[in-house]
């Protein structure tokens, strides 16, 4: 029995070596270690589901050994696979260490078997696919396709603004324009505040707030309106800050301003 076992192991080893030698000649033809493993697995002549991963690992390692002997340089990924298979082999041979974490040898072997089976399945599928009737080889498209003329359909659009603009143009001499704030003619609250903060020091007596309008803003009605509004708002702000007092005699009357420090003076 034992002798038989040894004999068989020897014979296997010889077979592996022979196989490996045959394979090495072809090494460039392999699409990576998984492809090589798949080819090696065929020597087992069993269903991929029943394959002996241990035996496959031996075959692969024998192959790598042989390649070394023949001084054939194998690509790094073949050597990585060899190292991994050596590790797997030891895991499969040694009794499981309950202390050790991670997947068992069997789990790793099962996954490798799955990978091989999946690769083989994809190869079969690819072959089935390529064996199908193909367009341009087995069946054909129209030989004289007819030109499809592209007709342009022009649709016209207009917006509500266009419409109103058109109407305004007809009914007035004004040009209609989308609403845009005219920055040139706007005097801002900030500008007014700046100006007034500088000037109120001089406002010891009641002064019409309109006297604070900036220069060059009085003539043009639009600029004057903006400057007036800003100056008024700035006056209110200054009153709120407790810097000035404001007074007005009556409705639509002049609005006057006086610096607060001079209250009691």
């Amino acid at each position: 029995m034992t002798d038989d076992f040894i004999e068989q192991a020897k014979r296997e080893a010889v077979a592996d070596r022979l196989a490996a030698e045959a394979l090495i000649i072809d090494v460039d033809g392999f699409e990576g270690p998984l492809d090589l493993l798949l080819t090696l697995s065929r020597t087992q002549k069993v269903d991929l589901r029943k394959i002996s991963i241990l035996q496959l690992a031996r075959q692969y390692l024998a192959f790598v050994e042989k390649a070394k002997e023949l001084r054939i340089e194998l690509a790094a990924d073949y050597l990585v696979m060899a190292a991994w298979l050596a590790f797997l082999k030891s895991r499969l041979l040694l009794p499981p260490d309950p202390e050790e974490e991670g997947p068992s040898g069997e789990e790793l072997a099962a996954h490798l078997a799955f990978q091989l089976e999946r690769l083989q399945a994809m190869r079969n599928a690819a072959a089935q696919l390529m064996a199908r009737d193909r367009l341009g080889r087995d069946f054909f498209a129209r030989g004289i396709p007819e030109d499809v003329t592209k007709t342009k359909i022009v649709t016209y659009t207009a917006t509500l603004l266009d419409l109103m603009q058109g109407y305004a143009r007809l009914k007035t001499k004004d040009e209609f324009r989308p609403f845009v704030m005219d920055r040139d003619s706007v005097y801002t609250l900030e500008e007014a505040l700046d100006r007034m903060r500088n000037l109120i020091g001089f406002a010891g007596t009641w002064t019409d707030i309109l006297s604070y309008l900036p220069e060059g803003w009085e003539a043009d009605p639009k600029r004057r309106r903006s400057a007036t509004a800003a100056t008024f708002a700035a006056s209110l702000q200054l009153a709120k800050e407790g810097k000035v007092h404001l007074r007005q005699d009556g409705t639509f009357g002049r609005i006057e301003l006086r610096q607060k420090e001079n209250d009691h003076g």
Binding site: E146, K152, I153, F179
Partner: protein, 230 residues
């Protein structure tokens, strides 16, 4: 030519026995018809009877198969036509209109059309003469036709004035296009002004009004009231 070929074929049909005697039995006529159909379909050029025969199995009779195929396609969307001394499959002439793909191009409506449309929208129902009076130029037939064609305007009731002229009104499509519930939702000139959508001038009252402005305001009201009066 076509008839000649047909005659030729009829003759062939009568002598099948001769062919069956030959070494390779010809495929059944139904099969031959399929073959001619496939070859004509896939070929990049019209195919002659001679070439069909050369490509089909020995003993086949392309001419006869063609007769059957032509018959089969009678009244269909495509048909077998003779081009010179060759045959091809072509679209039925009455379906040529399907060989077009539509591409939509959007263009802006012309100024004349926009103005005419605006007048109709603001003054509807309005006659052509009224449109021309407001625009100050004659309204081209094309402009009105275009708007009618786009279904943005339609004919309204005739005016009860001499000549009973037709009027134009805007359509629901028009309202949908411009997101309006009704033509009354169109802003009047006053509102356009108040919203700052008309140049510089301010709503009358806030600033000294020029006579011109007042005129305009009045006109606007008139326009609007006209719209509501009808």
């Amino acid at each position: 030519m076509v008839d000649e070929v047909a005659d030729d074929m009829a003759e062939e049909t009568n002598t099948p026995d001769v062919q069956e005697e030959s070494l390779f039995e010809a495929p059944p006529m139904g099969e031959q018809e399929r073959m001619v159909e496939a070859i004509l379909f896939a070929s990049a050029e019209p195919v002659t009877v001679k070439e069909l025969n050369a490509r089909m199995p020995h003993g086949a009779d392309a001419a006869e198969a063609l007769v059957h195929l032509r018959k089969r396609y009678e009244g269909r969307g495509v048909r077998v036509v003779k081009v010179g001394d060759a045959y091809a499959i072509r679209t039925a002439p009455d379906l040529g209109f399907l060989m077009q793909k539509e591409q939509v191009e959007t263009r802006k409506l012309s100024r004349a059309a926009i103005e005419t449309l605006a007048i109709i929208a603001y003054h509807q129902p309005v006659t052509r003469a009224e449109i021309e009076e407001i625009r100050g130029v004659s309204v081209s037939r094309g402009t009105v036709d275009q708007l009618l064609d786009m279904e943005w305007i339609r004919f309204g009731r005739r005016k009860m004035t001499p000549g009973r002229p037709v009027t134009f009104v805007v359509t629901q499509q028009f309202l949908d296009q411009f997101g309006l519930e009704s033509a009354r939702d169109l802003p009047g000139l006053k509102e356009l002004r108040a919203a700052g959508l008309l140049d510089n001038r301010l709503p009358p009252g806030t600033l000294p009004t020029s006579p011109e402005d007042e005129d305009l305001a009045e006109e606007t009201n008139e326009g609007q009231s006209e719209l509501f009066e009808d």
